[in-house]
Structure formats: C-alpha cells, structure tokens
C-alpha cells in the first residue's frame, strides 16, 4: 500500500546481517546489547504497567458506586450512621431515567430538589430505550415511563418490584404542524402541505412523522388512529391512508418534534406538553379520540441511592411536584387512576 515503493522490489536488503553482528559482539557490544534489552524490557514493562493501571482505574473508578449491591446497601445502612454514608459530599445524588417528554418538568423538579440538597442526574430517552438499558443492568434510582407497557417490561426484567410503580401524571396527544403562517417567508411553499384539521392527516403527499410503535407515544398515536377510524366521520380507511403518509418512525417523541421543527416533515403526532415547548402550530385532538397517556414512576429494585429515590418520587407526587408538572401541561396523577 505504500505509494512510490513499486519501483524497488529489492529482497536482498536487511537479511542475514544480524547473525554476523551477534558473532562479533565483544564486551562493550554485549553491554550495549544488554542495555538495549533492558530498555526494551523497561519499555514493555511501562506499557504493560500503564495498561494494567488503566484497567484498574476503570474497574475501581467507574465501578466505585456507593452501596454497590443490595446486600452491601443493607449492611451499610444497618451498621453505619446516616452521617457516615455520604462522607465526601453533603449532597445526595439521584439518577433518574425519564421519558424524554418529561424533560422540562423534571428539570424544574430537579432544580427545586437541589435546593434541598438532592442532586438529580437525568438520562432522558424513549421509555422503551430506557427500559432496555435498565434490563441490561444500567444503574439508576428512579424510572419514569410514559406508559404502563414500558414500566411493565422493566418489571418483567426484574429491575423494578411489581406494585411499587405509581401513576405520575397524564398527557394527551396533539398534532403539530409547521402550518402556512409560521414560515418566515423563505419560500418552501410549494411542497409543504398545510393541515388545519385531523381529516388533513390523510391528504395525499403529506409528510407525517410518528414515533415508532415501540415508543409509548407511537403506540398511543396508533390507538388514536384506531379511534378515529372507528368514527364514521373519518371512515374505516382513515388509519391506512394516514399511515401511508408516514415518512419516518422516530425513536423518541423529541425526534418527532425536531423533524417537524426543521421543516423536514409537515406534521407529527406528539404529546400536548411537547408541543407547548415549541412555537409550532398545534391541532388539538378531542379527548374521545386521544388515549390518555399515563406516566408511571417507580424506584429501581437495586437503586444505589434508595433514600434519594424515595425523596425524588415523594416530591414528584407531592402537591408541589404535581403543580410543577401541571405548569408544564401534564394532567394530575389522580386523573390517571
């Protein structure tokens, strides 16, 4: 592969020299050889040592979590006083795996909790992705899913104890669209299909983006289309005609939103709360068509910080926490019961 070497097919060079050198190795040469060997060994040693150190550092550093396993957790809790449990930092940390639609609301919850000395770390994504990560052993304290199905899959995977999940909040679906009015005059007019009501979802040529059916919002969207199709006003062919317009099935609700915001898609189906974070035009879906999305929250069975998990969940379900969720457009937990 070395360019320019094609011209020198010279196999003689650099063969059978070393034996000669070895044969005439006198005292000094031997010393030189010895040191060369030693240097080689040292270098190799350094490489091996550095590698071993790196591996050790990774194993100890990254695996070093406060109460690593359940048994350890109980023993620490039993033996040590609460004060010695967090000797290095005064703050508790709680790791929250949350459906991406909860982003803004949970960040608001988190900033309030931080004032009380609880630091919140988030992993946001599609609930199904989070459940899959948890099933594969991801460490977390709290799981907040956008539907019961993904919560159930975490329970089935044995990472959440059945019965510990609570309804956190509710949500509704809306259709978001760029609409004719939102464009700032940078003519993409010709191909953009404007929609004004739910009938327009089946207009030929519309570019509709949904979440994948594995994602809670994608599943809810399909339920919504089923309900619309059951209504004679839309007709039995409604669902098929709408699905024929789908150009992409995204992996979480925020990706659906992004595709509409970018103008790549004409419309998307998201939660009402997601729509309110943007300036996109929304087409409301009457309650009789929109399934009530129920969010669930539960502590992880092997939560590294069980007390902090309880603090977070209690706060999210408290009047204050519920008010914050409502401020972000969610329905109260009671509605979902």
């Amino acid at each position: 592969m070395r360019p320019g070497c094609r011209h020198h097919p010279d196999p003689r060079e650099g063969r059978s020299r070393q034996p000669e050198e070895r044969a005439i190795s006198t005292g000094t040469a031997a010393h030189v050889k010895l040191t060369a060997g030693a240097v080689q060994a040292m270098l190799a040693g350094i490489v091996a040592g550095a590698l071993a150190l790196a591996v050790l550092a990774i194993l100890t550093g990254c695996a070093q979590r406060p109460p690593a396993s359940a048994t350890q957790a109980t023993s620490t809790r039993g033996a040590a006083t609460p004060a010695t449990q967090t000797p290095s930092s005064p703050q508790h940390t709680v790791v929250v795996f949350a459906a991406s639609s909860l982003k803004e609301a949970f960040e608001a919850l988190g900033s309030n909790l931080e004032k009380q000395g609880v630091k919140v770390e988030y992993n946001l994504g599609g609930s199904q992705a989070l459940a899959a990560q948890l099933a594969q052993g991801a460490r977390a304290d709290v799981f907040a899913s956008a539907d019961l199905r993904t919560m159930q899959s975490a329970i089935d995977a044995g990472v959440i104890v059945s019965g510990t999940q609570r309804v956190l909040a509710t949500n509704r679906l809306v259709v978001v669209t760029q609409g004719a009015g939102t464009g700032t005059g940078t003519g993409t007019g010709r191909t953009a299909v404007a929609i004004t009501d739910l009938h327009d979802l089946m207009r030929p040529g519309l570019r509709l983006v949904l979440a994948d059916r594995t994602v809670p919002v994608g599943n809810y969207s399909l339920q919504m289309l089923d309900r619309l199709a059951a209504d004679p006003a839309y007709g039995p062919g409604f669902k098929e005609r709408v699905l024929a317009n789908v150009v992409s099935y995204e992996n979480n609700v925020r990706q659906v939103l992004a595709k509409v915001q970018l103008g790549e898609a004409d419309a998307g189906i998201v939660y009402a709360t997601d729509a309110s974070t943007t300036t996109l035009r929304t087409i409301p879906v009457p309650d009789r068509y929109s399934p009530l999305a129920r969010y669930y929250i539960a502590p992880l069975k092997d939560a590294p910080h069980p007390q902090a998990a309880t603090v977070f969940i209690t706060y999210a379900l408290s009047d204050e926490g519920q008010q914050i969720l409502q401020n972000h457009g969610f329905g109260r937990a009671q509605e979902g019961k």
Binding site: C5, A38, A132, K259
Partner: protein
C-alpha cells in the same frame, strides 16, 4: 580474550532474563489490549440465539433491513467509484493551489462525529437547507427517502475510497505512462491499459473498505433520512430500533454485520497484501 568471553557469558543470562521479562510484559500488554478489543465481539456472538436463528433472519424487519442495506451500500459504492475515481486521479497526478486544503476537507468526514454529519447534511440538502429551495424547484426531494440514505453513506464513506485510490494512482510510476505515450497510446488508452490495471488492487481495497463503512453508517442516516422500515431503515437503524423491543433480533442483526464486516476486512487485507507483494515493500 578471557575477559571478553566472561563479559559475554555474564551478559548472556542477563540478556535472556531481561528478554524473558520484556517478552512477558509485552505478552501481557498484548493480551490485555487484544482481549479488550475482541471481548465485545465474542460476547455478542455468544448471545446469538442459534436455535431460533432462522426464525429471526426471516422476520420482515430483518429481511427489509438486510435488503435495504445491501441496496443502498451498493448504490453508494457505485457513486463513489463513478465520481470518486476521477477526483482521486486528479489528486494523485496534479498539483494545484490549495490542494492540501482540499485533501484535508475531503477527509473531514472520517473524523466528523456521524451526528454532526447528519445535521450538516440536513442543513445542506434538507427542505429548509442551503440547497433546499433549489432542490425544491427542481422537484427533487431527499429527506426521508432511500436517496438520502445513499447520500449519507457516500458522505461518510467516500474519504476511505478516495484515500486508497489516490495512493494507488500515485504508486503507478509516471515513466510507465510516458513509455506508453511514446508508443502512441492516447490519454484514455493509457488510463485504461496502464494506470488502471496497475492500481487496481489499491482501488479495489479502497472500495471494499468504503463499502464496509457505508454498511456501518448510522448517525447521519437516522438524522438525515429518518427511520422507516424498507425505505430508510438500514441494518444499523433496525438494530437500534429492535434493541429497545426485541434484543434477540438486534443481536442476530448485529452478528450478521459482524460477519460481513469481518469478511470485508479480510478481503481488504488480502487485496492490500497482494499489492504489497507486487510493490515488494
């Protein structure tokens, strides 16, 4: 003489001891690092549900992704060969102002995070992108189409082809071409009969490695082309989506990609080795 011999015998055991220590340390280093690189692939292959393999492979989601990946990566390969070969030839045979800059810019996709490539492609070819209005009036629509997948793959994979093809062209001595010219061969004939045959191993090697990279493309595709089974959902995207609902299906598809990538890499190395023997390095 005696002292010399003494020095030699003294040095002897010392040398061998330090050699053994050195070899041992090296062996540990190699084992650790190679293990680190190989272990994930082994872990993946160990989890393949062998008994239900047939059932998984024939699932529509897997079959569609396989077909689409094969089709799009071959299209990308064709684009790279057709458009990349002249570029590689120009870069190999001509000097011009700004050439190093051009070479650097062309190689950018190699180091760009795939997500950045996806965003950049959107902003260039998306409906609201730089060329959006132009494409719009031409009636061309790329977003969410199979063409967008091909574009994303070509974007990230072509530097690998360009680099190899350029090196291959450079390795053909200009003198050979001059000889052919004195014998009356025209520009085109010289290219077809002299340059191309001699640089073929390098070109093929580059094509193979670029093809492998196109097959592996994920980030730019999911951002730029979206995720639609049979249309834009290639193998990596299907793995990502299935991972969240059916881990076994994701594992089976991953194993297929591991095997095909391995086969392509072996082919590439074999082609490169062939070239090394010819060049006699």
């Amino acid at each position: 003489m005696q002292t010399e011999a003494g020095a030699y015998t003294q040095a002897g055991p010392g040398t061998s001891w330090s050699r053994i220590a050195g070899a041992l340390a090296l062996a540990i280093a190699v084992a650790l690092f190679a293990g680190f690189l190989i272990l994930p692939v082994v872990a993946l292959l160990l989890r393949v549900p062998v008994s239900a393999l047939g059932e998984y492979v024939t699932r529509p989601v897997v079959l569609d992704a396989l077909k689409l990946s094969l089709f799009t990566s071959l299209c990308s390969l064709g684009l790279m060969l057709a458009l990349g070969t002249p570029v590689a030839f120009v870069l190999a045979r001509h000097r011009f102002a700004g050439k190093p800059l051009l070479e650097t810019l062309i190689e950018m996709p190699v180091v760009l995070p795939p997500a950045v490539a996806g965003v950049a492609l959107l902003l260039a070819f998306g409906r609201r992108g730089l060329l959006g209005p132009l494409l719009d009036t031409a009636g061309v629509e790329l977003a969410f189409t199979t063409a967008a997948v091909v574009l994303a793959q070509t974007f990230v994979a072509s530097p690998f082809y360009l680099r190899s093809a350029q090196a291959a062209f450079q390795s053909v001595p200009v003198e050979l071409e001059q000889v052919a010219a004195t014998e009356g061969a025209g520009r085109w004939a010289r290219f077809w009969n002299v340059i191309l045959p001699l640089s073929l191993p390098g070109i093929t090697g580059g094509a193979v490695i670029a093809w492998a990279r196109a097959l592996a493309e994920f980030g730019a595709t999911i951002l730029f082309a979206g995720n639609f089974q049979g249309r834009t959902q290639t193998m990596p995207l299907a793995i990502y989506t299935q991972m969240e609902s059916d881990l076994n299906a994701a594992i089976v598809m991953s194993a297929i990609l591991v095997c095909s990538s391995f086969a392509l890499l072996v082919t590439f190395r074999w082609l490169s080795r062939g070239q090394l023997e010819i060049t006699g390095t």
